[in-house]
């Protein structure tokens, strides 16, 4: 531990700040499943690891995952990883990188078993093995019969996994900095990432954590949209930090709308509800998914089901007084199945809608859910960027995993049950790669004081006093804008309006000032920093979306209704500087098996 002196304030009024410095081998930012799985790998290898999280680890959004984690254990019906891989590639609308997808699906069974050994209380089959349920987009034998691949702890799988991973980290004596908010990455002139500047939320004091390697595991940015299934903390902090550090963000136009959020409120109703036999109906009581996906019906991919609901609503067949939702029926299922397999849903629906799903259908609508895009990485979790139109190269010292990263295993549309898998597979992979990196990098590189000064200036921007709009007003406007202009169906002129609106908000953000300048647990300051991140990522999303002139996965354009593999089978890369877009090829070649070439996507 030590102190460093850095400059802060404008040129006329510079002051030297004493900022506490700590040094670790690895800094993990974010304590959801991805960060905790990586930290565990590192702590078990005796690396000196610090986990920084803006909330106590078990408050992270992994806790809210419900339905389960995919692995071809074949406990219920025949299955293998190669079928899982096919479904994931198809689910991604062929935008997923097939080397990373093969890696993930191959690793799945082993890692789910490992979670079970960590203590995760999976539900059980009569023979004592892990319970698995059918989920959307799953098939046996490359598009054949429905598979049952999703390993579940009732409908609280994320809670069970996050708590078990935290518990294992307690056992491994991982060093936690709970309730510290990361402001900016620190880097030197040769582009090495040296750690990050934090603020201790409780004291309001800045803290520099120097690290030979930094891993971003900060989750997605569901708070971009007014109605979303996400925790309030999901503001894309790590993705925006990468963007500010000059790293482009990948495929931000692909945002998943979950078909079954509680209408108007947003709370998630797991796909497991349909996996257990539930189905959707319109106002005529028609089971409309039979028209959109004759084979898979209600267990088609999420993008397909969300579009189907949105289409029913647009064509006047929605339910309710405003005709703006569909009904999810469970009431034909035996009460004991619903209570046993979906206890969390029962209690949530009771709390927020005062109905019992055993007796009454649940009003649901497509709801912003998951960020497919994010920080570009390879399958080792290394953050990679193309160098001057050339091949990709890793940013030395920087890793990213989980929803904030774009490996990309989800491509244009993530399959249910693959996000919990993503975080443990790539959390572990990044941990392993970092351990190798640390063996070659024995010392810390010197801290770059310009980089620290810039980060401190960013933080002290919120010390400015004045009137003007509030953080709350502007955040509401961001969320309304994104919901209106970048929703399930998109067109060029609507998105152009969205871009104009977001750029105007970015301008207005400059004049926003806090009224509360206190230090101790100032949540207003944290919300202001989060708002900056939301604005950056909102712009990245609409700009990337307007540029992609095709429909693929979650990105559906009314003006370009078809997928266009000739021109658009490529990842987009958005740079903050000048809002430039680049593209890079999809990695179509798997590690050991044949490529799954793009085909029409029918469910």
């Amino acid at each position: 531990m030590g102190f460093g002196y850095f400059t802060c304030g404008d040129e006329m009024n510079q002051i030297k700040l004493a900022v506490e410095r700590r040094r670790f081998d690895t800094l993990v930012i974010g304590a959801g499943g991805g960060g905790l799985r990586a930290a565990l790998q590192l702590a078990q290898a005796d690396a000196h690891v610090a986990v920084v999280s803006k909330v106590f680890p078990t408050r992270s959004h992994t806790v809210a995952a419900q339905g389960g984690i995919n692995a071809a254990l074949a406990n219920v019906v025949p299955d293998n990883w190669h079928w899982h891989m096919y479904d994931t590639v198809k689910g991604s609308d062929y935008l997923g990188d097939q080397d990373a997808i093969e890696y993930m699906c191959r690793a799945a069974s082993r890692l789910v078993v490992e979670l079970e050994h960590y203590g995760v209380p999976f539900s059980r089959l009569d023979n004592g093995s892990i319970y698995q349920r059918p989920f959307g987009g799953q098939s046996q034998n490359f598009g054949g019969d429905q598979a049952a691949r999703t390993c579940a702890a009732a409908d609280r799988t994320g809670h069970a996994i996050l708590h078990s991973l935290y518990q294992q980290n307690i056992r491994a004596k991982t060093h936690f900095f709970d309730e510290y908010f990361a402001i900016d990455l620190l880097k030197d002139e040769s582009g090495y990432i040296l750690g990050a500047l934090m603020i201790c939320i409780e004291t309001g004091e800045p803290l520099i954590i120097e690290a030979k390697t930094t891993l971003l595991a900060t989750g997605g940015v569901g708070q971009l949209f007014r109605t979303n299934t996400n925790a309030h903390i999901n503001t894309g902090d790590g993705i925006a930090m990468a963007l500010r550090a000059g790293i482009p963000v990948q495929d931000m136009e692909f945002f998943q709308f979950h078909p079954t959020g509680i209408a108007g409120k947003g709370m998630l109703i797991t796909e497991g509800a349909r996996g257990e036999g539930g189905y959707l109906v319109n106002k005529d009581g028609e089971r409309f998914m039979e028209r959109y996906a004759p084979h898979a019906k209600d267990l088609a991919s999420r993008d397909v089901v969300s579009r189907a609901i949105a289409t029913e609503v647009r064509e006047g067949r929605g339910c309710g007084p405003d005709g703006d939702y569909a009904l999810l029926k469970l009431d034909h299922l035996p009460a004991e199945v619903i209570r046993k397999r979906l206890p969390g849903i029962c209690s949530m629906v009771q709390t927020f809608l005062h109905i019992d799903p055993v007796e009454q259908p649940i009003p649901v609508a497509p709801t912003a859910h998951y960020t497919m895009g994010g920080i570009p990485t390879n399958r080792h979790g290394q953050v990679v960027v193309p160098v001057q139109q050339g091949a990709e190269e890793p940013i030395p010292g920087l890793y990213a995993v989980g929803e904030c990263a774009c490996v990309s295993v989800h491509g244009a549309n993530r399959l249910g049950g693959n996000s919990l898998l993503d975080i443990v597979v790539f959390g572990r992979a990044a941990g392993n790669h970092i351990i190798e990196f640390l063996q070659e990098s024995r010392t810390h590189r010197p801290l770059d004081s310009d980089s620290v000064d810039n980060a401190l200036a960013h933080l002290s921007r919120w010390d400015r006093k004045g009137g003007g709009e509030s953080v709350d007003q502007l955040r509401n406007e961001v969320q309304m804008t994104m919901e209106k202009y970048a929703s399930v169906f998109r067109t060029d002129d609507v998105m152009q309006e969205g871009i104009d609106k977001m750029l105007e908000i970015e301008q207005r953000l400059n004049d926003v000032c806090l009224k509360d300048h206190s230090k101790v647990f100032n949540t207003a300051r944290i919300e202001a920093l989060e708002l900056e991140n939301l604005v950056d990522l909102g712009i990245a999303t609409v700009v990337s979306a307007q540029a992609r002139k095709e429909s693929r996965g979650a990105h559906s354009r009314i003006d370009f209704p078809d997928r266009d593999d000739e021109h658009w089978l490529k990842h987009s890369l958005f740079h903050k500087e000048g809002r430039q877009l680049d593209y890079k090829p999809v990695r179509m070649k798997p590690l050991s098996v044949d490529t799954f070439p793009p085909k029409p996507r029918v469910y």
Partner: protein, 234 residues
């Protein structure tokens, strides 16, 4: 419901010599509003009001507060039916950092003290440990704990001896592993609780079970732990 009155505990250590209650009124309150929605509305007007929250649906456990004298999660506690002014205070018996935010460390420390992780001494198989549905059922009502501290901060025994008595939440988690057919540290876990305070300060007042927002029953888990200790002794 149209207008609702609140009385909220305020304390900013940089500004206030002592805590005080601040009155607020919210207009045009929808019938299905939760306490957390109300707090967020109040914060939009007065950004200095501080409280924790995250998932907003009762699964992350961030937002335990005391509402009209009863501990609960603000995001799943409806305003409807509450006596006005609705009094919102931090969870009782713990150091207050600011407003509704308490220092949770004493609570987490007790959680860590019970070794809240699965301990298996046998070599690991390449497949999952087998567990029958009946064995797995024994974990229901235990593993769902969200560590919100509503129970422990409602427990008089925990108020008096937060350093020596483990408190209902930690004891519930301890029993979650005692009840797990896969765990092999039963004797160690029981031995560790063999003093006058850690477990035996529970006087079955049952505040914990009454306030648990997840409907769990720590008192029952403590009773079962006692039975296991007795059995071990005999």
């Amino acid at each position: 419901m149209t207008s609702v009155r609140f009385s909220v505990y305020r304390y900013n250590p940089e500004r206030d010599e002592s805590p005080y209650m601040q009155d607020y009124i919210l207009e045009n309150v929808p019938a299905d509003m939760m306490i957390l929605d109300a707090l967020k509305k109040l914060k939009a007007e007065d950004e200095s009001l501080s409280f924790r929250h995250s998932c907003g649906e009762g699964v992350c456990g961030s937002d335990g507060v005391n509402i009209n004298g009863r501990n609960g999660l603000s995001c799943i506690t409806p305003l409807a039916g509450l006596k006005q002014p609705i009094e919102i205070r931090p969870l009782p018996g713990m150091p207050v950092i600011r407003d509704l935010i308490i220092d949770m460390e004493p609570f987490y420390k007790q959680y860590r003290a019970v070794k809240p992780y699965l301990i298996v001494n046998d070599p690991e198989p390449e497949i999952e440990y087998k567990q029958s549905p009946a064995q797995r059922d024994k974990l229901d009502g235990l593993y769902e704990c969200v560590l919100c501290a509503c129970c422990s901060t409602a427990c008089p025994s925990f108020w008096w001896n937060p350093d020596k008595f483990l408190g209902p939440a930690a004891l519930l988690q301890s029993f979650r592993f005692l009840a797990d057919s896969r765990d092999q540290a039963t004797d160690d876990r029981l031995d560790q609780m063999e003093d006058a305070y850690k477990l035996y300060r529970c006087h079955t007042i049952m505040n914990c079970a009454q306030v648990c927002p997840k409907g769990l029953n720590p008192t029952e888990a403590i009773g079962k732990t006692r039975q296991m200790m007795l059995k071990q002794f005999l």
